[in-house]
Structures are given as C-alpha cells and as structure tokens.
Amino acid sequence: MLVGTGLLAPTAGVADANQASIMGRCDALAANPLNPDNPAGVEGVKYSSIDIGQAIPACKSATTKYPNEPRMHYQLGRALDAVGQKQLALNEYFMAADLGYRAALFNLGTIYRDRKNSPDRSNDAASLFLASALQGYAPAQFNLGLMYEKGRGVPQNDSEAVYWYQLSADQGYRNGEFNLGWMYEKGRGVAQSYKQAADLYSDASHKGHASAMYRLGILYEGGLGTPKSSHEALSQYLRAAEKGEIRALTAAGRLYRDGQGANKDVMEAAILFRTAAASGDRQAANLMKKLFVNQDIARELQRQLKRHGFYDGKIDGAFGRGSQAALGDFCQCG
C-alpha cells in the first residue's frame, strides 16, 4: 500500500504540473485583463496586444488537451477574434458559454447586440447577458440594465434597469455606478435623489469614469445633492476633460469665461471652447462665436495673442479670420 501511494503521488503531481503549464501558457498569452475569473497572478493581455502567432497554437493545444476547461475556449476565442476569425471565435465562445463561463456568455451577448447589417438579435443578446448576469458578472448586469433602459431585446423597464445597475454597482462596477447615478438624478425607475446621484457619481469618478466626473461637476455647480462649489465643479470638469469628456471642456470654458471657481480667463475659455468645438460640440461652437463678438473680450484676446507673438494686427475688437487663425496657431487646438 505504501509502495502504491509512493508511486502514484508523483505521477499525479506531474499531471497537475503539465496541466498548469499548458493552461498557464494560454492564460499568459490570451487572458482577458478585465476578467475577474482569471486565476491569481494572471495579468491578461489586451486584444490589440495579443501575440496571435503564439496565443492561437497555445490555446488550441490547451482546448484539445482540456476540452472541458471553458477558460481555454474563451481565451482561444479572444485570440481568434483578434486575428479576425470571427466565426471560429464565435464557436469557441459558444463552447465556453455552454460550460457556463460567464465572461463568454457576456462576450456572446455583446457580439449579438452589436451585429451590424443583419436582423436584430437583441433578444438573444439580452438572454445571454441575463445568463451571465445571474452568475454575478457585473459587466453583464450593467449591459442587461442598459437593455432594459433602452428597451432593446426586452420591454423597456426603468425599474428593471435600476435593479441590474444596482447589482453591478454593488460590485463596484463604475459603469453601473454611473448609470445608476443617472437614474437617481433623473428619477427614472427610482425616487429622484440628487444626493444618491452625487454619491454614485463620486464613486464612479474615483474609478476614473469621465462622464461621472462631468455629471458630478454639474451637481457641484448647481449645488444639487452636494454643497454648491464652482471650484469643485471646475476641478471635476477638468479631470473629465483630461479623460476625453468633450462636454466637460465646454463646461470648464464657461466657468473660466465667467470667473467661477477660478480667476476669469477668457483666453483659457476661448481655447477650451475651440477645442470642444473642433471635436464637434455645437454648444462650444456657439459659446465661442458669442465670445468673439464681444468686443471687450475680443480685444483682450488680441492683446494676449500679440504679447505671445502670434498676432500682429490691430487691437480693434473685431475677431475675424486673422485673429482666429492666430488663436489656432497659439493653442494648436483645432
């Protein structure tokens, strides 16, 4: 008996090590960095960074050897997806999803939701999100909430949307926190509460959610659910703008123009408006136009441009093409 035990134990250990090695290679090459079900220590690789030449053979080998390991199918699906083998990727996602892998169910849901040039499959997408959401997968809970909010694939239902947003927010999923905050702010599917909205926006903004920063700025600016504070509002707008939130550029420009939350700075306002307008923000374009027709402001802008050596015309308050070109040269903003 002892002999038997002594012989078997190392063999089992070798098998485990082999499995860990084969699967570990696939993990290292194609795991999703955002997948909460990754084994400890697996960092994951972004789609754009997947080394297809290595990841596909490694994960194929893993799925062949361990066909009942859904994570391997999921990761092979990612690698195939990255190389444009959509159909093969779909098959692998299916296999992982059939084994209940929640990230795969979620991926399939997004594929069916976002299919273009084909009949609407939102219904299937909602079912897939639901299957994943029931397993507590926060992105799926959020997406299902979104489907309910928009009435895609499921009947429009704000209360259901709030329910699923809440579940994802409870897990600290920033998109869920933001959308739930929005529902509180607008009183959709839940009793209106700026306080709740501000708290949720705050949570999401701390995790880097740009829109949450912008909305939180608006609440601070209006003193809605928070103490009124233009300074805090401007701070949130600028953080959001750094993250690429265009509307925050406009809002920050407005505060600089009016000297709220910071010293009045029409040049800063003009630059922010111009940057936002160049990105397609109509409100910013309108505000910029109004700024330029104000002769006092126009003169100030011309003076500053001249001082910096970008404008050599008259300081006449007529902010025409020459002045606007100088502003463009100065700020390199559109």
């Binding site: 062949t64 159909q87 779909l90 098959n91 299916f94 296999m95 999803a97 059939d98 084994l99 209940g100 169910l105 069916y112 299919r115 273009k116 040039n117 084909s118 009949p119 499959r121 299937d124 079912s127 897939l128 639901l130 299957a131 029931l134």
Partner: protein
C-alpha cells in the same frame, strides 16, 4: 434517415403508396388510383418523403429536420435557424436556448410566463420538456432538451395553422421522438476517429473468436428492395456508379457479397440462367437449383466457394440477385450465413415501385447526392460572406465541391475540412466582394433579395472511398442502415 421512415410505414401504407405511385406516373391501375385518393387527400405531404436531413448547429449539436417541407430563412447564424414552408404558413425554428435561470426547472417556468407559451401544455421527462398549445387557429409545439451541467438547451419550435395538423403532427412526432440531448450530440472528427478505431479493434478482436452473426437490414432505395445481411462479417464498400449494385467485403477482404437489382432484359428465367452460365464463371457448379421465379448456383472457384441466387419479378422483367464468395476454408463459418440468405431471399418484393429500377428518384440525389442549401448572408465594409449548408447524401466522403452561388460563372472550389461524411451537413462560408450598391460585384443580377437568386448551383463533386472503420458510424443508426 428518411429511408428508415419508409421502413416504419405500415404495410397498408406501402400498398397505397405503391399504388399511388404507379397510378400517378404510369396512368394505369385505376383501382389503385381510387384507393389512393381518399388516403392522400388529407395527408398528402405527410405521406411523401419530407427529406429528413441533418442540421448541424454551431454549438456542435444536430437535429434532423424535414428539408423538403421547409426552406431556411435568411438570418444570421448562431443561436438558431428559422425555416418556413412554401407559403410561410408554418415555421420551424431550431435553436440553442441559453439557460436564463438558476435551473432548467426555473427556466421552464419562466418560459411558461412568456406570451408565446402562456397557457401551453407542459410535458416533461428527465433532461427534456415540451410545450404545446395554440391561440385561435395557430398551433405550436416546442421541445427543449438539456444537460443540467450545460448552459445551452437545444430546442425546436414548430408553429403551424390548425388546418395543417394532418401534415405536421407526424412531423412533430418524428422530430420529438428522435430529439434528445445525448442523441443530438455531434461527434467531432477526433471523437469519431477514436470511437471508430476502438470499434474496429473490438470487432477485429472479436473476429478471432467464434461469434454470433449480427444481421442488419440493407435497403436499396434505388431499386426499391431490402434484405438482411451479416453486418459484423461483411461491410459495405462505397456505392458504385450503378445504384442497383452494392458490394460488401469482409475485414480481410477475402469474402465478397454483391447485391444487385434491375431489369433482367431476358424473356425467361431459363434464358437468363443459361446466359449467366455461358460466361464461364461457374465451371465448378455443384448445385443448380431452379424454381418458378428463382434459381441458385453453388460451387467453387479455385480456393473459394460461391453461392448465388437470382430472384425474378412475376413477369420476369426485373431480377434481384445476391452473390456470396468466400474462402472454402471458412465453409463452416459461412454455412449458416448461406442458409439464412437462401431462406430469406426467396420472395420477390419491392419497397416501392421504381419504374425501370435503375434511376434515383429521391430529391436528395439531384447532383451526385450532394445538396447545397441557402444559408445566411452577412456583409461589412465592402465584403460579404455567404454561409451555405452542404449536405452529403452519398455513400462516399465528400472531399470537394464546386459552387457558383450567384450563377455568375465564377465557380469556387470548396474543400471542406474535415471532409463531409455520408449523411452529414456542414456550413461553409464563401467570401464575396461587394459592388458599390452593396450587392455581389461578380454578377449583373440585381434583385432585391439576394437569397432568391441563388439556387443550388454546384458541380464537380469529388468523393473518396468511405473507409471501413469509419463506417461503424452506421451502427449508431444515423445513416443508411436500419437496425
């Protein structure tokens, strides 16, 4: 599989079907015609072969559906596929349903709350449940099969008008009876090889020991007859160019069994026998039995023994034959087989009237037994993808087929990998370059619906012999041979 559905018909139905066939196409047998009309009136489609064909879902399971009754609707592949009958009054949906509840029990209860299934009658068993019902004049039947450990149930839903019950009730019965989770599992190529190899080993091992002969039914629908053959001793080789001939070999290829059928082209049985013997293949003829509508020849040819029997139709215009040749050293082993073949092969009978007896009459044999069905269409950023379903109804392994999806003369050679085995369907994808108007650039045709101007244009079917070890697939009963 549809062959088996013929087999399962009652004798009375055969009689009527045969009568109807003769009456309709040869304009004779008036009595048969009158008999047929009442029978066919309310049940015409159900009595015709609905062309059962495999649909393989992307998730790796399969189901047989009545392809002659339904055409696929263009929709994206994935969770399901929808088929309509000719006038779109009936719809068949084959789909994977994701388990949107903690258990299939809860999922089933959720379904019953959906408007579509509200008020449905529920029947269930281990690993499956079915919902049936209807509103106003429409009827539906849905069956879900599942494995509790898996997240996708497999299902079909058939919706039809109440007036079509006579047509679709038998279809539902057949679909439901053959649809189970385990039964719908689709074998991967690797699984198939493993199983075939292990089977082959089992059989070859078993051959060493004396074993009981296992008899199976062989049907030849081309010439319309059937007989039992020793299935664990003789194995069918690929179908020959002449559909009336089928050859079987033993695993060591020392024994051969040939089954034939077709017109006799002789005026009498005696003439036929004389002509046959004059060929000189029967020089060591030992037993020469003759009866009113058959004769048999038994003898040796070198180190081998042969047994041949020829059975004639009542007017001697058609003949069926069996010819068994085996090493004389295995006489003891084959004695019982010869005896049983002789006893069973004594009454001339046909499955259905088939005219001359040498032509294929089934729709699935249109082009060398290979069919290509319309599938799905997707397009994005200047490129289009056409998904087609290729079905191999031949007895060989489909290696290659040429397809011209838009009748533009631009043939593409499709080499499915892995090759398509007999009775299997696979989906293939063809990339199509789109013109500025979003339609395929390769054709001048511009109708609105792309799928309507695509109609099974294919040729150049390349088959390879179906290896013996692969043929054990038949033993699970999915293809030509009944059990």
């Amino acid at each position: 599989m549809w062959l088996r559905s013929i087999l399962h018909r009652t004798r009375a139905q055969y009689g009527v079907a045969a009568c109807f066939s003769r009456a309709a196409y040869k304009f004779r047998h008036a009595a048969c015609l009158s008999l047929s009309l009442w029978f066919v009136a309310g049940n015409a489609i159900a009595q015709q072969d609905p062309g059962w064909r495999n649909y393989v879902h992307e998730l790796g399971w399969q189901i047989q559906y009545p392809a002659e009754l339904f055409s696929p609707a263009p929709n994206p592949s994935g969770l399901g596929k929808t088929y309509y009958n000719e006038n779109k009054s009936a719809k068949l949906v084959i789909f994977s349903a994701v388990k949107t509840a903690d258990s299939y029990q809860a999922y089933q209860q959720n379904l019953l709350r959906e408007p579509r299934y509200r008020g449905a009658t529920l029947t269930q068993g281990a690993g499956w449940f079915a919902l049936s019902g209807g509103q106003s004049t429409s009827r539906f039947f849905a069956k879900f099969v599942f494995d509790e450990t898996r997240y996708f149930a497999r299902a079909f839903l058939l919706e039809y008008d109440q007036s079509q019950s006579a047509t679709y009730n038998p279809i539902i019965t057949r679909l439901a009876a053959n649809f189970s989770y385990e039964g719908s599992n689709w074998e991967s190529e690797e699984d198939r090889r493993i199983r075939a190899t292990s089977r082959a080993l089992t059989i070859s091992d078993a051959v060493v020991e004396p074993q009981k002969t296992e008899w199976r039914l062989y049907e030849n629908t081309a010439v319309g007859w059937a007989l039992n053959y020793p299935a664990n001793k003789l194995f069918p080789t690929p179908i020959t160019r002449n559909p009336g001939v089928r050859i079987f070999h033993s695993t060591d290829e020392q024994s051969t069994f040939i089954v034939t059928g077709g017109p006799s082209r002789m005026t009498s049985i005696q003439d036929y026998r004389d002509q046959l013997i004059s060929h000189g293949r029967h020089e060591d003829l030992k037993i020469n039995q003759v009866s009113a509508n058959w004769f048999s020849l038994t003898g040796t040819r070198g180190s081998r023994s042969y047994f041949e029997k020829y059975l004639f139709s009542p007017d001697a215009s058609d003949v069926q034959s069996i010819a068994l040749e085996y090493p004389t050293s295995q006489l003891n082993e084959y004695a019982d087989i010869v005896g049983k073949l002789d006893a069973e092969f004594s009454i001339y009978k046909t499955l259905e009237s088939t005219g001359t007896g040498v032509e294929f009459t089934t729709a699935t044999d249109r082009i060398n037994g290979v069919t290509v069905d319309t599938g799905n269409w997707q397009e994005s950023s200047g490129d289009g993808t056409l998904s087609l379903t290729v079905t191999n109804n031949t007895n060989g392994v489909l290696k290659s087929v040429q397809i011209d999806p838009f009748r533009s003369g631009q043939w593409r050679t499709v080499k499915p990998a892995p090759a398509i085995y007999p009775g299997e369907s696979v989906q293939i994808e063809i990339a199509v370059v789109l013109a500025d108007d979003g339609k395929p650039a390769e054709t001048m045709h511009r109708p609105d619906n792309r799928m309507e101007w695509w109609d099974n244009m294919h040729r150049g079917v390349v088959l390879s012999p179906f290896q013996r070890q692969e043929e054990f697939k038949e033993e699970v009963g999915s293809w030509l041979f009944g059990s």
